[in-house]
């Protein structure tokens, strides 16, 4: 049920990216208000705003994909190593996770953008470096609990190795929690890509993403606010849809009384 809004938004993005007309400069139609030909109006060079928004779909989704693959992969691997490896490895990884939780994502992204060049890769690596820790701690904590269950002992007694056992008995049990974390991370990736774009460090300044559009149009905030508000609305819509799909605020809201041992790590932004 909760996946419906995200599905609708993603489908709308696909239609937008596929159907929008190409971006063309038309100096006769500078700053035209919304009309049938230009549903969102045009910018200072007469370019169709909707078409420019469509260009930003692909870089945004690429950044989300890179961030999720990086953070999930690194986090699950580190969590498995913490749960199944020797005590020294666990202590080391716990220290690293603690350190990673206090890394400012945007600063890491800036440093990486300088070293690797701005783009989906820098954003993905930055979000992976700063975002793997909640996954790892969640995986390790829940794996500890599963390892107290009888079916885990039975599987081990039957000769199932630790890695195969992890894949078969632990991962399915923790998938829903990882999903919730991933939803929050996907939303963060959208915001991070937009923030870098806004700082003027977007992927390609010739074909800017939504943050880049805000950067480009920020001088028109006072004369034609729709130029700024439209990309801002796109960023908010996609990030909200990704958040709602997995509703990270619900467990945070509910974890009140009781305190049954495990508490999910706090969300980072």
């Amino acid at each position: 049920m909760r996946l419906v809004p995200a599905g609708v938004v993603l489908a709308a993005l696909g239609v937008l990216a596929a159907q929008a007309p190409g971006v063309t400069v038309d100096l006769d139609a500078m700053l035209a208000p919304p009309s049938a030909a230009h549903p969102l109006g045009t910018d200072h060079l007469g370019r169709d705003l909707l078409a420019r928004l469509a260009v930003g779909v692909a870089p945004t989704l690429r950044a989300v994909a890179a961030a999720l693959v990086g953070a999930l992969g690194l986090g699950v691997a580190a969590g498995a190593a913490m749960a199944l490896g020797p005590a020294l490895m666990r202590a080391t990884l716990e220290g690293l996770a603690d350190l990673a939780l206090s890394l400012p994502t945007l600063v890491v992204a800036l440093v990486l953008a300088a070293a690797l060049g701005a783009g989906s890769l820098a954003i993905g690596v930055a979000l992976a470096i700063t975002g793997w820790a909640p996954y790892a701690l969640t995986v390790a904590a829940l794996a500890d609990r599963v390892r107290g269950e009888e079916y885990w002992h039975a599987a081990r007694a039957l000769g199932v190795g630790p890695v195969a056992g992890f894949r078969r008995h632990i991962l399915p049990a923790i998938a829903p929690r990882l999903g919730a974390l991933a939803g929050a991370d996907a939303g963060r990736a959208v915001l991070m890509a937009a923030s870098l774009g806004f700082l003027g460090l977007g992927v390609d300044t010739g074909r800017p993403d939504w943050g880049g559009l805000v950067h480009e149009y920020r001088l028109f905030l006072f004369h034609a606010p729709r130029l700024v508000l439209a990309p801002v609305a796109m960023i908010a819509l996609v990030s909200l849809a990704l958040h709602l799909a997995f509703d990270p605020l619900r467990p945070m809201h509910r974890r009140g009384a009781g305190g049954r041992g495990f508490r999910p790590p706090r969300w980072r932004r």
Partner: protein, 306 residues
Amino acid sequence: MTAAARAAAAVCLAWLAVCAACFALFRLTPGDPAAIYADRAGVAGAQITAELRAAWGLDHPPATQFADWLLRALGGDAGLSFEDRRPIADDFARRLPWSAAVGAGGLALGVVLAVALGFAAALRPGGPADWASRALAVMAQALPAFAVGLVVLWVVAVEARLIRPLTAQGGDRLVLPILLVALFSAGSLARVVRAAFAEVRAAQWFRTALAKGLSARAALWSHGARHMTLSLIASLVPEAAWVVGGTAVAEIVFGVPGLSERVVAAVAARDYPVLQAYAALVAALMLTVRLAARLTIRRLDPRPAA
């Protein structure tokens, strides 16, 4: 005392590791800053590039370069910028007060807002304060700070004509960036405060406090404040990490002459010494915050961690 000394040693080690990682990243990535600089200045050539490399100390082995940088940095000298050949430390010293005011002021105001809102929300679950704190939390999670900042700018300056934020002088131009950082911090911290107070409300001894005749408000505050403080301090560390980035964005949106301008320009120009100094500064700040949070929690809650 030994525990504190060990924690301080761990902080120093972690700082060294972060600085070294940053240094290695800049030295190992392709693209010679000397060649880029010469290219931009329109004087590309092997001779000039080699001279620049020698002048900037890039011809030494990386380990020597790092040791050299470290010794100088500890003495307060962060070297010269590649771009304008001026001392970075002076530049940072001039800009840091602006950034510190936005970041520290915003976080402090955010904590005050979060405690007030979270307390009111826990006192009346489902009430207006609860909804307000949830709305703020959703905003903090799902909206980019620069977007909210621009909308605030539009509303305050264009629609209401209250202030002239971009042309204001001195302290006036700090009002909006501090408010922006405070709103975002309050959004995520208020839920933490609310959850901590909700835990207190559900405890058996809270019923005892009510039975003694205390009002719900007085009982929740006098018996729950310490518990809430512990949760709040624990979540201040990730929040401070966000505030560092959020401050950067707020400075750019509202045109505050802080560190961010310089750092963003340095990213575009690959001005590595500036970025290295910034990374070292942020790492020192975050590690100090983390250590202070840990020591405070230990003092407030002396029970050994389970």
